[in-house]
Amino acid sequence: MSPALEVSNLTMDFGGLRALDSIDLTVNHGEIVALIGPNGAGKTTFFNCITGIYNPTAGDMRLVSPEGKAVRINGLKPNQVTENGMARTFQNIRLFQNMTVLENVMIGRHCRLRAGIPGAVFRPPRVRKEESRLIEDSYRMLQKVGLEKYVNEFAKNLPYGAQRRLEIARAMATEPFILLLDEPAAGMNTQETKELDELILRIRNEEGICILLIEHDMKLVMSLSDRIYVVDYGRKIAEGTPGQIKNDPAVIKAYLGEDIDA
């Protein structure tokens, strides 16, 4: 198995607070990896660091595409990270609320297309073709996540679970080889969670995209992930297969009182 994302020694300080303390983490192509830990452990901060939204205090981060092209992503801007093949969703949904569902997905493809201002104004055949392909592809993407019936709705008018799935569709539209999901099941009911489970598996199996997942729903985490990393107070306290994690004493201590072998 070859690595897609390699993070070593990642450290992030906010003033005096050390939110991440030398974290090492690897996601291989074809894997679904989970990052778990109590609230405030630093999981979202980890995502923000590797996607270029925060500038980490120390550490090394690399992306390796399926073709084997490696890029060091330290200091890259968020859009450059995305261009290099890593896309994400947000824990607190950040859709483009006053744009339609389809447009949200179309935005995702932005970095793979070229048309500029002159193209927009004069609309040469090349741009027309690009645009109509974009619309079709975006619609297909919506079908994949089961949102095609909302295609012309404003994003803000979607039910909660659908908004989460739209975030995934939008991220997928950037054509990533690794997808980061920040608590995708938060606020979903059992039925929606089940559909999400299937969707994530499909993304990995059919699209060949590897996934790094932050999630509190242990049932989902245990059933989906190949490997799990556990963080607490910014430190990695355990790493292993779902079976190993379930019985790890450090993990049980961190989650004292919470039900992890659900």
Binding site: F14, G15, T44, N48, Y54, F90
Partner: protein, 302 residues
């Protein structure tokens, strides 16, 4: 170098700076708490000056004595500016608490435009002479041609206000509530802080401070019109940003720096571009050090 002239410019800068400071404190407090650039803050100061002018005019014609007039006029200015500040917050900002930041800023621009034209229409667009309310102190006679007593009063007022506000924020209950609200509104509400009340009080205090500035500068310069608030307000905002917005000592420091820069530049080089400075400062500071001289650098939470 002519030292006397230098000293004169130094004091002139100190005077300007002190007035900017009285305004900048209000900006910084409001920004610190609800992250709103209160575009209409300068108009509140203008309203204070106008109220004082009106009260002075009426009382002078009734033949009152000067000290009584000074006290009553300042009091009226403070009361009315606070009332306008409070009302503006209730009408134009409170309904926008959860709206995008730019909506509140546009609303504040609306308040500024409205108040300017309200005074213009209800009073006049002409410059009105403002009587010098501050008496000439006997003990200042010897230094009279270096520093006027109105200037001394300006320095003293700014110093007192700054100390009083610092004590208020650091040591009183309401100060604590203000700091809590500034940190995190939601959390403050959860631990029982009446956030709406805190914000109202912040506006009232800021407006009262601005009113003092209005009365002092009007009687120092000797004339006012409906437009004095706009440029003063912008400059005070620049001063607050220069010092590090949200920080009270920063606001005073930034105001003094701006005051001196303007004073020395106009004194030594040219008075044509007096008003450009504030803007150049603003642009440079925001580009190179958005957190200001004394401000902290934050990472926006995502």
């Amino acid at each position: 170098m002519d030292f006397g002239y230098f000293f004169e410019l130094f004091l002139g800068g100190l005077t300007r700076g002190s007035i900017y400071a009285l305004l900048a404190l209000g900006y910084t407090m409001v920004y610190g708490i609800i992250e709103l650039i209160n575009f209409a803050h300068g108009e509140i100061y203008m309203i204070g000056a106008f109220t004082a002018l009106i009260v002075t005019g009426v009382l002078t014609l009734m033949g009152w004595n000067k000290i009584a007039i000074l006290i009553l006029a300042s009091l009226a200015a403070v009361v009315y500016s606070s009332a306008y500040g409070y009302t503006a917050e209730k009408i134009a900002y409170k309904p926008l608490r959860n709206a995008p930041r730019l909506s509140a800023l546009i609303s504040a621009i609306g308040v500024s435009l409205f108040l300017q034209n309200y005074v213009l229409l209800a009073q006049t667009s002409d410059f009105l002479p403002f009587p010098n309310l501050i008496p000439e102190f006997e003990f200042l006679k010897p230094v009279e041609d270096i520093v006027r007593s109105s200037e001394i009063v300006i320095y003293a007022t700014t110093a007192v206000v700054m100390v009083a506000l610092t004590i208020l924020i650091k040591f009183t209950r309401i100060g604590k509530a203000m700091r809590a609200t500034a940190q995190d509104q939601k959390m403050a509400r959860l631990v029982g802080v009446d956030v709406d009340r805190v914000i109202s009080i912040t506006f009232i205090i800021g407006s009262a401070t601005a009113a003092l500035g209005g009365v002092l500068i009007a009687s120092h310069i000797g004339q006012i019109n409906f437009y004095i608030g706009f440029i003063a307000g912008i400059k005070a905002f620049v001063a607050a940003v220069l010092g590090g917005i949200g920080s009270m000592p920063g606001a005073v420091l930034g105001s003094l720096v701006l005051g001196w820069t303007e004073s020395f530049f106009t004194g030594y080089i040219s008075s044509d571009y007096e008003d450009v400075f504030a803007f150049i400062f603003l642009v440079l500071i925001l580009i190179f050090r958005p957190s200001g001289i004394l401000g902290r650098k934050d990472t926006d939470k995502v």
